[in-house]
């Protein structure tokens, strides 16, 4: 995928050789790094195909992230969609995957992903960002360099401010 920012150990950088491809994207390159739909994942799992480290999955904003429970230990990447940046369902999905289901792999924001929302996404547990392709990922990176103190708890700061102040 193009225009990707990843955050590793708190450091965010623009990645130029991201191996993943979204469903339907030209995947002539690396066939080992496909992000598949939930439906496809369920078919693959049913057929007994090994899911280890090969497939990522993308959820629809309406999906209950709990359905991925059986594969959370092996899935390397889960992508959550922002059909429009003003559609905030994926923030709650991200929170649930991280805080409730203990997902530790890469959590990627895809869709209408823009600079001014990246800090909130990071708070909710996203670790990579597929910035909308007509926007500069380098510019968007500034969205992760902002002051992002919050009062409430979040995935990235599990203790609310009142327990720390």
């Amino acid at each position: 995928m193009k225009n990707i920012i990843t955050t590793v150990n708190g450091v965010s950088t623009v990645v130029h050789d991201d191996p993943w491809s979204m469903p339907g994207e030209d995947d002539s390159g690396n066939r080992d790094y496909q992000i598949v739909s939930l439906e496809r994942l369920l078919v693959l799992a049913e057929s007994g195909e090994s899911l280890q480290k090969l497939y990522g999955v993308v959820l629809h904003p309406d999906d209950d992230p709990g359905v991925l429970q059986p594969w959370l230990d092996s899935l390397p990447l889960i992508a959550l969609q922002f059909p429009r940046f003003s559609d905030g369902r994926a923030y709650s999905q991200a929170y649930l995957l991280r805080a409730r289901h203990g997902f530790e792999g890469e959590l990627r924001a895809v869709g209408d992903v823009l600079r001014d929302q990246l800090a909130a996404m990071r708070h909710c547990g996203f670790s990579s960002f597929a910035v909308r392709e007509d926007k500069s990922a380098e510019e968007a990176l500034k969205g992760l360099e902002v002051f992002d103190l919050i009062y409430a708890r979040s995935v990235s700061t599990p203790q609310p401010l009142f327990r720390r102040r």
């Binding site: 559609d87 905030g88 001014d116 002051f147 009062y151 102040r165």
Partner: protein
Amino acid sequence: MYRYDEYDRALVQARVEQFRDQVARRLSGDLSEEEFLPLRLQNGLYLQKHAYMLRVANPYGTLSADQLRVLAKIATDFDRGYGHFTTRQNIQFNWIELEQVPDILQLLADHDMHAIQTSGNCVRNITTEAFAGVAGDEVIDPRPLAEILRQWSTVNPEFLFLPRKFKIAISSSASDRAAVRAHDIGLYLYRGDRGEMLLDVMAGGGLGRTPILNERVKQALPWQHILTYTEAVLRVYNRYGRRDNKYKARIKILVKTLGVDAFAQEVEREWALIKDSDAVLTEREYQRVAAGFAPPVYERLDLIDPEYGAWLARDPQFGLWVQRNTQPHKVTGYASVILSTKPGASAPPGDVTGEQMNAVADLAERYGFGEIRVSHEQNLVLPDIRKQDLYPLWKKLTEINLAKPNVGLLTDVIACPGGDYCALANTRSLPVTRAIQERFDNIDFLHDLGDLTLNISGCVNACGHHHIGNIGILGVDKSGEEFFQITIGGAQGKNSSLGKVIGRAFRTEEVPEAINRLLQTYLDYRELDEPFIETVNRIGLDPFKERVYQTPTATAQVTPEEASV
């Protein structure tokens, strides 16, 4: 008042810089209007009919004298000399230049204020009643929990892009003066058998085009869980609330669709998984915040002040004002004073000039403890006034046109800015407000009518809360012409109810006569001191309808079916 610490201050300062950068990117074209829109809304900035409008947050309606002076400065330096206080206890400035907004926000931040989340599909300003901390009938001061909710909801990253706006109100008095039941979440705070603080949580209220009063989803919630439970409600709403239709996106539609019991169960399931987390509020945090609301040092005063009593006897005008515009205080010898922003035709409801704000700030320091409140009815309140100071205060308020003795009366109208300003409104609510205030200017008649609320909205979005006015007026557009539909029987407070339409809608110039006939009907039927709303409840709508529509002065033009589309 709650005082900002270094965290609060750092947050609002950083927010100013962030928005300054976003405005620069909008002006340079890096941000499209569509991308900029939610960013500016979450900083209180609307694009209205003629200009940008900035809505500044007055958390739960509380201001210091210095903060009010800052609002006066904004009115004078950046606007046309006045601001408009709203039903959510905020203030709006109607004539703002986009380029100047970062400087205005800087001015606010430098005085521990902000405009964060006064708009947009996020948790809005937390409201409570204007007499919090001083009301004679108060059970518990709701402000510490309101402030804790304010902090928790501010830039809460999971809940910045909800399906629709989200309003929370909290009240803890014998009378609910915060319209709790018209809120997405309404909280009633009270004491349990062992003196512990408990909350009844109401969910799914809202006015707009589908008015619904909220219903109880949780009884006797321990106060420590105010944040975990709110989080559970918001997570359920964020995941399952409708996003395909803006008019069906409020939580009230979700609660109604699922049914309140099923909704409550869904919330309960979510809450069970987070209620034993670090989000549980601590006694230490409650005490830290509550310290900011410690009562001022009141003087020990006698119940009866002879000089005050003498002025009451000597000056009937003063007596009228005391009767309507003061409220019992929990401390002997004090009263809370309501400054009516509804002088009549000379100013729209809620509009206050910069000069008036400065004068009020001075009076708050001279006669009170330097604090001012904004009421849900769009009036200002000086919460702590010694009864012996009421007379000189009244004199001074009269000089600045803030002493109309009409609080709670027919002319204490709640009204939205309407089509004169608002891009959403399809009718102008202010001319009809003015027409009513002009027609019913006789103060003795108004006092004889007694308690009566009149609420006017310029469109179905219902910012003037017409559904919960004893008399409600809704502007509707019919082929480019303005008509006004009248409801009666609405009420806010513990006995909240939604008004019912009396019949066909009226032209602007017909509205005062229609109101007059409603009032005459009431006067004919009322028993003893029965207020308007109780007469309506007792005799029903029919006698009112008959009188209003008996002769053609109130010409019918639109059927109710058409008008309610």
